[in-house]
């Protein structure tokens, strides 16, 4: 057999592996991965706070399996996510979280093909999340050095404008007032609550690391915040946040020190919900989901679309009520806070954080 003989079946295989489509140009993407900033503090959080670090590995699975099921199994996604996957996550994976970070491409292979650009935005922001934990957990760094390292980590993150979220706060209208909005929170209340609880912990863990003045205080604070997260799990979705947790409410000291990071994480978590809505909303044709995801992703990267003032973002966060967002992550009472809003409540604000019109609860 020679090369020419093999070429025919090889070309046939190539043709079989490529899916015919009319918009090949729109499918050609060159987004790429990049190493995270090498520094002495790499993996310090993993070493010093292994229980919390492992939970984040489990969270990665939860985020990824959500998108994969919404995209590939729209007909039975509700049953799969609200029952089977939810049970797996809360009774097995969160109890025995993976030791190593997971390959999200392997958990969400078909979603990753749908919108690799958005997937990499999440991954790049998750790298930032972890690098910030590493800086705050590094006991060799004093406050000044931590501040310098945070700026360095942020600068490196922003060096990828094709992946980085804006440092300008975005109005919640981007998340809650689009034609596809609210589909996920309404159709998947348990899983949506779990995702908000994930986000609560992901931003909430910054606070004990910042307010703790000694290593013992930081260790105890992180353990308490993780325990608080676990307290939310029984009886779901009752214990979960009823609106999206905002960093300025859950981690106010962290936010005061590094507001740009807090804004980035809010934009990240907001876009998580947007993609969930686009995937979950049956009114959005499958052929339009990629374009809508990319449009939303661009809106969360730019510094102009639906931007709020920083003061307005803080005001909006305060009006939403920390007790509705899962409660504070340090100095909390033994019982979970009692929400004053119904689950999924939608507030509307202008760019200065002033409330607009009557608040609407979408059932």
């Amino acid at each position: 057999m020679n090369a020419r003989t093999l070429a025919v079946p090889a070309l046939a295989l190539v043709a079989a592996l490529a899916t015919p489509t009319r918009d090949l140009h729109a499918q050609w993407t060159t987004v790429y991965e990049q190493f995270y900033l090498p520094a002495d503090h790499n993996f310090v959080f993993r070493t010093n706070y292994p229980a919390a670090d492992r939970l984040f590995n489990a969270f990665d699975y939860g985020h990824a399996i959500l998108y994969e099921k919404l995209w590939t199994r729209p007909a039975d996604a509700k049953q799969l996510l609200e029952e089977r996957e939810y049970a797996f996550l809360t009774t097995r994976l969160l109890n025995r979280p993976p030791r190593l970070p997971l390959v999200e491409d392997a958990i969400e292979p078909l979603y990753a093909r749908l919108a690799p650009e958005a997937k990499m935005m999440f991954e790049w922001a998750h790298i930032l999340h972890r690098q910030v934990y590493d800086v705050l957990a590094d006991e060799r760094l004093d406050d000044g050095a931590k501040d310098r390292e945070m700026k360095r980590v942020l600068t490196y993150y922003l060096s990828r404008p094709d992946l980085a979220y804006s440092t300008k706060p975005k109005n919640m209208s981007l998340m809650q007032e689009q034609p596809y909005s609210l589909a996920f929170r309404q159709g998947f209340p348990k899983f949506n609550g779990l995702i908000w609880a994930y986000h609560w912990l992901q931003i909430g863990l910054y606070e004990p690391l910042v307010v703790g003045r000694t290593v013992e205080q930081r260790q105890a604070g992180v353990a308490a915040t993780v325990a608080r997260f676990r307290q939310m799990l029984p009886g779901a979705p009752e214990g979960f946040p009823v609106v999206m947790p905002m960093t300025a409410a859950i981690a106010p000291t962290f936010t005061a020190k590094w507001p740009e990071l807090a804004i980035i994480f809010d934009n990240l978590h907001s876009m998580h919900d947007v993609i969930s809505d686009i995937l979950a909303n049956p009114a959005v044709p499958r052929g339009e989901k990629r374009a809508l995801i990319l449009k939303a992703a661009a809106a969360y990267r730019d510094d102009t679309t639906d931007v709020m003032t920083v003061a307005g973002w803080r005001r909006m966060t305060e009006m939403m009520g920390v007790h509705n967002q899962g409660g504070p992550s340090v100095g909390f009472l033994p019982a979970l806070p009692t929400p004053s809003l119904e689950r999924g409540f939608v507030m509307r604000h202008d760019k200065d954080g002033n409330m607009l019109g009557a608040h609407v609860h979408h059932d």
């Binding site: 057999m1 020679n2 090369a3 093999l6 090889a10 295989l13 190539v14 592996l17 490529a18 899916t19 015919p20 489509t21 918009d23 090949l24 499918q27 050609w28 993407t29 060159t30 987004v31 790429y32 991965e33 990049q34 190493f35 995270y36 900033l37 090498p38 520094a39 002495d40 790499n42 993996f43 993993r46 699975y61 590939t72 994976l93 993976p98 190593l100 970070p101 997971l102 390959v103 491409d105 392997a106 958990i107 292979p109 078909l110 990753a112 093909r113 749908l114 690799p116 790298i127 060799r140 760094l141 050095a145 310098r148 390292e149 360095r152 600068t155 490196y156 060096s159 990629r290």
Partner: protein, 275 residues
């Protein structure tokens, strides 16, 4: 050979001296020969380095004829979707005709691999490579052997499919050329792999056809299976076993190795630290 040992040791020292970095899921990004010859069409992350410190391969060519090889390799993601690889293979050949096995460098391999795109719903990931195997050492080919490669990866719900093709232009090698065993005129490989996500484990299998770089060479078919596992955020290990399935002796091949990922902080693109 002495030079090769020093070079490989230097690579190892660079890697061990560097602070930890990301690449926590390296096991998923397969490399040529680690453990399968067919690899995915995905390059390493921009600005990262990956060291294959001591990938070991044992091949039983025929009864009484064996071939050991260690091929330290360093890859650098120096540009978006682009990596440069340098390998320094060292071979131990025992064909039963000498009182002692022959130990020598088996050339210097350099390859540039560029990933054209990222996989989407309609398009697989595609990559192109160009490289050269230089005549450095006693078991190296007698001339430089250039090669070009094309790679494709398609992801499915159940796993991934990889298709690789390679071609080397130029004159045939003589049958007595020390590099003839590793050189091919063309090579085509098809591999599938499946990831066990929660175990950070990848299992793969392949079929490879290749035509030797000699006049009137017969196409050889080989098959192999292998695993890659992430052991720590920086370290992934692999192991594989293969054999010839075309006519002739089985030519069993065993291989195992480890990949270590890092990024020196002083490299361009990384702003300097606070301390």
């Amino acid at each position: 050979m002495h030079i090769c040992f020093r070079a490989s040791n230097a690579l190892l020292l660079i890697a061990l001296a560097a602070p930890a970095a990301r690449a926590q899921t390296d096991f998923y990004n397969t490399d040529r020969g680690r453990p399968l010859r067919t690899e995915d069409a995905i390059v390493i992350e921009r600005r990262s380095f990956e060291l294959q410190a001591a990938p070991l391969t044992f091949q039983r060519v025929l009864r009484g004829v064996s071939h050991w090889g260690i091929a330290p390799e360093l890859a650098w993601g120096f540009a978006p979707r682009t990596q440069l690889e340098v390998a320094l293979p060292l071979a131990v050949e025992d064909d039963g005709t000498r009182p002692r096995a022959l130990v020598a460098a088996a050339g210097l391999e350099v390859e540039l691999l560029h990933q054209l795109n990222t996989e989407t719903t309609a398009l697989p990931a595609l990559a192109l490579g160009a490289g050269v195997h230089l005549p450095v050492g006693g078991l190296a080919p007698s001339r430089a052997i250039p090669s070009v490669r094309a790679l494709m990866t398609r992801t499915h719900r159940w796993g991934r499919v990889h298709l690789n093709g390679a071609y080397s232009p130029g004159d045939d090698l003589a049958l007595s050329d020390p590099g003839v065993a590793d050189a091919s005129r063309w090579q085509a490989g098809l591999a599938v792999d499946r990831t066990f996500v929660l175990r950070s484990l990848l299992v793969g299998a392949e079929v490879v056809a290749q035509s030797p770089l000699v006049a009137d060479g017969q196409t050889e078919w080989r098959t192999a299976i292998g695993v890659r596992q992430q052991l720590s955020p920086r370290l992934a290990m692999d192991a594989g076993i293969g054999r010839r399935i075309s006519e002739g002796d089985a030519g069993w091949t065993l291989t195992m190795g480890a990949a270590y990922s890092f990024a020196p902080p002083g490299m361009p693109g990384f702003n300097r630290g606070a301390r």
